[in-house]
């Protein structure tokens, strides 16, 4: 028994730029309207709405010609970012049909915007009553979303794409039976291969893909380059064609839109609690928590303000989140009230619940985490730090500090304890030599005069020669003084009478 064949579905959205504006209920679309893009030195039409098409304006025409045909034509340049965002949202929407959904990125190589989705529907079609049922359901769903689409199912992604773009006429969706790709694709024009040699193929008199079947691949390669054969093999399933399936990003966010703007802070807080409850319940169900929360608030004048809070540990505690937002919400100035709210969880991570009552260390850790949350939200989480080792031999970089919330994540091992290193390390501060010596017998530093008592042998520390700015080579002396303090003096390695003495640190 042979393995069940793979089946791929392609969704082509030929009028994506126009549909995006139609979804936003743009009133300009009532009259003749086109979207355009700068291409080959002129603005060219990408999509035209029906009333523009009635006047003979089609994709590819230059905008100047279109304006000559129809003087009251309105136009707008395409917005690639918004279209890609719409496509990504659609990718998430398609998750209901199959988990393997990819944005077709082939147009990007030609400088176009992506306008298609590839779905791996192998083994998923029976859930929708076969391939036809799946296609019908998809087409109905896309129509509800006001998107015009052409769909095709085939054995390979390329064949599905070719049929969606060139085979499926008049918006009808097609399903190519298993193993019939070769026969079906034979009727398609050579442009369906999307190779760079389409023009050369036409010039050679080759009109359809079927005409290529009889030509030896070595001859095709010699005449038109390797690209044609590779694409043909991909279309017929002789060459693997993996989909680029990115992990589905799941934004943990909830939003709420109100019929009327509200003014009172208490009402906003009550709404925030409801948002928190739904979002955090979702996080809790999956055993997750978030270390940061961002609340975006819109007024009726589209004035958007974003408030942020952080936590020392991933949390899904509704009361804690609402409490942290209470103070910034109090300070929020929204003169026209609040119409729309969106709460997003950032830095989502797994929570490790603890039994607090029995575990004294755990209770202390909980108290410490609450304290860090409190401190971090006022002085900033970057300012609450803990020492951490780092991979360097330089005294000033041997250990560093990381934010408490990042502690324990991917840290190297602690270096062996070095009792010969000072307790405090400064950027070298020059001293004023009163009585010379090597090191000076008497010197002034920070308005205090020090007398040298004893000196340890110098230590030479080389810079990191492999880095871009390695810094100087330096010698260090440990100098005990009669005043009691033990200082770490440093100098560049020169002749003794030329040394530039400075204090690099103080010992405990």
């Amino acid at each position: 028994m042979s393995a069940p064949s793979k089946r791929y579905l392609y969704i082509w959205l030929p009028r994506l730029s126009l549909d995006r504006l139609a979804r936003a209920e743009d009133v300009r679309l009532n009259g003749p309207f086109v979207t355009c893009r700068e291409e080959r030195g002129a603005f060219r039409v990408v999509n035209a709405n029906p009333s523009a098409r009635e006047q003979g304006i089609g994709p590819g025409a230059s905008l100047a010609d279109a304006r000559a045909l129809c003087p009251d034509l309105l136009s707008e340049p395409v917005d690639p970012q918004s279209e890609v965002a719409l496509l990504r949202a659609l990718r998430r929407w398609c998750d209901r049909f199959t988990p393997s959904v990819a944005v077709d990125e082939a147009p990007l190589t030609k400088g176009d915007n992506p306008d298609g989705l590839q779905l791996d529907v192998s083994g998923a079609t029976h859930l929708f009553g076969g391939e036809d049922g799946l296609l019908n359901e998809l087409a109905a769903g896309l129509a509800d979303l006001q998107l015009s689409a052409r769909l095709a199912v085939a054995d390979t992604p390329s064949a599905a794409k070719a049929w969606a773009k060139f085979g499926a006429k008049h918006g009808r969706s097609t399903s190519i039976p298993v193993g019939e790709s070769k026969a079906y694709c034979a009727k398609l024009p050579v442009e369906a291969l999307e190779s760079s040699a389409s023009y050369d193929l036409r010039r050679a008199g080759l009109q359809t893909i079927g005409q290529l079947y009889d030509i030896k691949s070595i001859e095709l390669n010699r005449r038109f380059g390797l690209d044609v054969c590779t694409r043909l093999d991909k279309m017929l399933g002789r060459h693997p064609e993996p989909l680029r399936l990115l992990a589905m990003s799941r934004p943990f966010a909830t939003r709420m839109t109100l019929p009327e703007p509200i003014m009172h802070t208490e009402s906003v807080q009550a709404l925030l609690t409801r948002l928190c409850t739904s979002l955090l319940a979702r996080l809790e169900r999956e055993g997750l928590g978030a270390r940061g929360f961002a609340l975006s608030v819109w007024g009726p004048d589209e004035d958007c303000k974003t408030l942020e809070t952080g936590f020392a540990r991933p949390t899904h505690n509704v009361r804690a989140v609402a409490r942290q937002f209470a103070r910034p919400l109090d300070a929020l100035q929204m003169p026209f009230g609040v119409e729309r709210l969106r709460l997003q969880a950032c830095a989502v991570a797994a929570t490790h619940p603890r039994q607090g009552v029995l575990d004294e260390n755990g209770a202390a850790q909980d108290a410490m985490d609450r304290l860090i949350t409190l401190l971090g939200n006022r002085v900033g989480f970057d300012s609450v730090r803990t020492p951490s080792p780092s991979q360097s031999h330089l005294p000033e970089r041997e250990c560093t500090s990381v934010g408490v919330t990042m502690a324990g994540v991917d840290t190297p091992d602690w270096p062996a304890r070095r009792a010969h290193r000072p307790l405090r390390l400064f950027a070298p501060e020059r001293i004023h030599t009163l009585e010379p010596g090597d090191p000076p017998r008497r010197f002034e530093w920070r308005r205090t005069v020090y007398d040298r008592a004893s000196v340890s042998a110098p230590e030479r520390i080389a810079p990191e020669w492999w880095s871009d700015r390695p810094g100087p080579l330096r010698d260090y002396w440990r100098v005990a003084t009669h005043q009691g303090q033990t200082l770490w003096l440093s100098s560049r390695p020169t002749l003794p009478h030329e040394r530039d003495w400075s204090v690099a640190g103080v010992f405990a």
Binding site: L371, L375, V379, S383, R385, P387, S401, A407, R417
Partner: protein, 230 residues
């Protein structure tokens, strides 16, 4: 104890300490601290546990100890060493007392974990870089008030005044934590329990002590190689 008076009367226990048992809810700590110092020392509320446990940082018997729930001030260039000695003593207790160091960035980030490792595991230390003096004092108050029972080292350029140090004192009593205020410049009259001067080599001098002796003591030799790095 069935024979104890039920309503607000004073009584003596066998050791001769006077207790006042309040009939009403106990007054807040602010009210208590508003009493004159002499009266405050005499009157202990019966429901308040005596601040019996104290941290002994000096090996001599009869030497001053540092009480929990109090703030202590340290001055002089040896203040860092004193603070590390206290953190080391707190680290060796059974109950967890997380150490926190608060100050300006130049005070906090110049501390080297390699040398800290002789006294405490450096990874257990939390550094708080609060920019202005008001932020440092706010952070110190929150840390002392937190139920984590921290040992909070606060680095200030000038000592806290009476109001500031009373706030810190009330906070540390509420959290049963210990506040160590390292003063680089001048100290002012404050509500601290003890004040130390560490200007002389190998000597710590207690110049103020509300409950015990004052005098000079030799620095104990802590920070040997027995404390492992993290």
């Amino acid at each position: 104890m069935a024979d104890q008076p039920a309503r607000g009367t004073a009584f003596n226990d066998v050791s001769g300490v006077s207790y006042a048992r309040p009939s009403r809810p106990r007054p807040s700590l602010q009210v208590l601290h508003s009493l004159p110092a002499g009266v405050r020392r005499q009157v202990r509320l019966a429901d308040e546990p005596a601040p019996s446990h104290a941290l002994s940082i000096l090996p001599d018997a009869g030497a001053p100890t540092l009480e929990w729930g109090r703030t202590h001030e340290v001055m002089g260039w040896g203040a860092d060493r004193f603070a590390l000695g206290v953190l080391n003593a707190a680290h060796r207790l059974l109950s967890p007392h997380p150490p926190v160091w608060v100050g300006r960035s130049r005070d906090v980030y110049t501390l080297r974990p390699e040398a800290l490792g002789a006294f405490i595991p450096p990874a257990s230390l939390t550094l708080v870089d609060a920019g202005r003096r008001a932020d440092i004092l706010w952070a110190a108050e929150q840390i002392l008030r937190a139920p984590a029972q921290t040992v909070c080292v606060v680095q200030l350029s000038q000592g806290p005044n009476l109001a500031e140090s009373r706030r810190l004192q009330v906070a540390s009593e509420a959290g049963r934590s210990m506040g160590l205020i390292l003063i680089a410049g001048r100290a002012h009259s404050s509500t601290c329990q003890t004040r130390w001067e560490c200007d002389t080599p190998d000597v710590w001098r207690a110049v103020k002590n509300k409950t015990g002796p004052v005098g000079e003591w030799a620095i104990p030799n802590v920070g040997g190689p027995e404390v492992a790095a993290p």
